[in-house]
Amino acid sequence: MDVVNALAETWPRRAALRRPFADVAREHLDDVYRYLVFLTADPVLAEDLAGETFEKAFRSWKRFDPRRGSERTWLCRLARSKALDHFRSEARRRRREDRSASEAPPVDEPLADGLSPELEAALRSLSAGEREVVVLRIVLEFDALAAARVLGISRTACSMRLARALQKLEEMLEERMEAHVVA
């Protein structure tokens, strides 16, 4: 990684403002991984995508402008782009093989340690779009503007989307709680 730092520093433009890539990668690795886990609801896939994200980030590091946003926001945008590319290719593959989404095998690995089974199940029931706004605003504590930048939507739309996602999450939790009590 020291070689990486040395190579990154060879770009004179904005080098004074840009931190070494290795430091940035170490600092934000967990956040990017968490974001992808929530987005994909698949920790193994999230690990693959996170690795690809940082590889792409290293190649694009000289184009990053610290004056236009934080490193974490930039990395999450790259991660989102990688994930969407994967989803698109997966959808094309499914169309070619004529498989429906309902035939997808369930993912057994837990999303995270420390989540109650009800919350984990409720999270998995949300759509990927709802989960990603929850992870950005709640788990990673992005402010509304930064989260909107990652999602490519307006700040107001981001807040609305979060409110709906949390409302849906809460309703699912209540249903599961009631079902558990009845059982």
């Binding site: 990684m1 070689v3 990486v4 190579l7 690795l29 967990d30 990017v32 991984y33 968490r34 994909t40 609801a41 698949d42 920790p43 193994v44 690990e47 995508l49 996170a50 690795g51 940082f54 969407l84 994967h86 989803f87 698109r88 997966e90 959808a91 593959r93 499914r94 997808a104 095998p105 993912v107 999303l111 995270a112 340690d113 420390g114 989540l115 109650s116 919350l119 998995r124 029931s125 949300l126 759509s127 990927a128 779009g129 929850v134 992870v135 605003r137 709640i138 788990v139 504590e141 107001t156 807040s159 609305m160 979060l162 409110a163 709906r164 949390l166 409302q167 999450l169 809460e170 939790l173």
Partner: protein, 374 residues
């Protein structure tokens, strides 16, 4: 629970740490704490993978896509510049030719019989001894005078262009009424006065302007249809009067004095008829042939010296270059702007489509859970 719109505004406050006021808000904050408290550290394998990132051997070479884009843009710009220069460099000849067409109205090549001159726009007009048909409904008889100034590189060019001009004129059935050529060293001037059949004027202008660079041109037209019609009417009237007088003389009803008077009147009528015919011949001659004055000149000696060196020359060259560049830029902007507008519309539509596909993908709870990369 309240509507999402109300919750959104209150949610921002709760996430910022505001004290919950309802049980629902307290549950929300509890949910947020549970989510934040969950451990989701990156696995060791991922850490190692990121630590091992190193540049690929081809990291410092430009991508193929970028090279193709740069090459395509360069070819497009060079082609557009060349087309603009070709168009603008030929514009002078086109202006002269267009004016010539405007003046006499048609570029149809009409061959003319040498002794039966025709006017371009008024149809054929017979010479002496033939009945005069009515002029054509379209067009009018006009006297056309053109002056064209050409710049030629050097004295040899003056001589060659003069000879070519004479040759072209004769090939087109015209005549050279005067020719003056004056050369001294590398400088020279020439003036040729040409009479070109009106039907061949377009070709003459086109071919003559190829002999040099057009620096000035002027066209003067005079409508002669009115005078021609009046002359024709006068001839017809005189002929009618002559027939009347001849009939009176042949009738034998006149006494000696009346017969003498009639013969004198007849002689006057015939004289007037001859004059009228001569007038009409002159008018027809003017309208059947156009007068073209061709002036050839080499560049002024001072201008050549100035343009070769010195600050003034450099400034002049820079000004010429900027003017040319500005003209090319305007040309490119006008030509490319519709294409750019179409490209912008296409890009916007593709973006909208991409957003819809993205939204559809993210509606799936597990959009990417079906394959794992190795």
């Amino acid at each position: 629970m309240s509507s999402p719109e109300l919750v959104a505004s209150r949610l921002e406050e709760l996430l910022a740490g505001a004290f919950p006021e309802t049980e629902g808000e307290a549950r929300l904050q509890g949910l947020a704490r549970e989510l934040r408290g969950a451990s989701m550290a990156a696995p060791a394998s991922l850490r190692q993978r990121v630590e091992e990132i190193k540049p690929s051997p081809r990291a410092h070479t430009p991508s193929r896509r970028r090279l193709v884009a740069v090459l395509a843009t360069s070819v497009l710009l060079i082609g557009a510049t060349f087309a603009a220069r070709t168009y603008f460099s030929g514009s002078d000849q086109r202006v002269v030719r267009a004016q010539a067409q405007l003046v006499y109205g048609s570029s149809v090549d009409r061959s003319l019989a040498p002794y039966r001159p025709q006017t371009q726009n008024s149809g054929s007009v017979a010479g002496e001894g033939f009945a005069s048909p009515a002029p054509a409904a379209t067009g009018r008889a006009r006297d056309i005078d053109m002056w064209v100034d050409l710049r030629v590189q050097d004295a040899d060019g003056i001589s060659a262009a003069s000879q070519d001009a004479v040759r072209i004129t004769r090939e087109l059935g015209g005549v050279v009424t005067s020719s003056t050529v004056d050369t001294q060293g590398n400088q020279g001037r020439a003036q040729l006065t040409l009479r070109i059949p009106v039907g061949k004027l377009d070709d003459a202008v086109f071919r003559l302007t190829q002999l040099g660079t057009v620096t000035a041109q002027r066209t003067n037209t005079q409508d002669l249809q009115g005078p021609l019609d009046r002359t024709t009417d006068r001839i017809a009237h005189l002929r009618s009067q002559i027939r009347i007088e001849l009939a009176r003389l042949a009738g034998g009803q006149l006494d000696a004095a009346q017969e003498l008077h009639a013969r004198i009147h007849l002689e006057n009528l015939r004289r007037n008829l001859r004059e009228a015919k001569a007038d009409r011949r002159a008018l027809v001659s003017r309208t059947s042939m156009a007068d073209l004055t061709l002036r050839l000149a080499t560049p002024a000696p001072g201008a050549a010296d100035k343009s070769e060196g010195g600050i003034a020359g450099a400034v002049g060259k820079a000004g010429d270059f900027l003017r040319g560049a500005g003209a090319v830029a305007v040309f490119l902007a006008l030509v490319l702007s519709p294409l750019l507008a179409l490209a912008a519309i296409a890009w916007a539509l593709l973006r909208v489509r991409s957003r819809r596909i993205e939204a559809r993908l993210l509606d799936d709870p597990q959009p990417g859970a079906h394959t794992r990369s190795s």
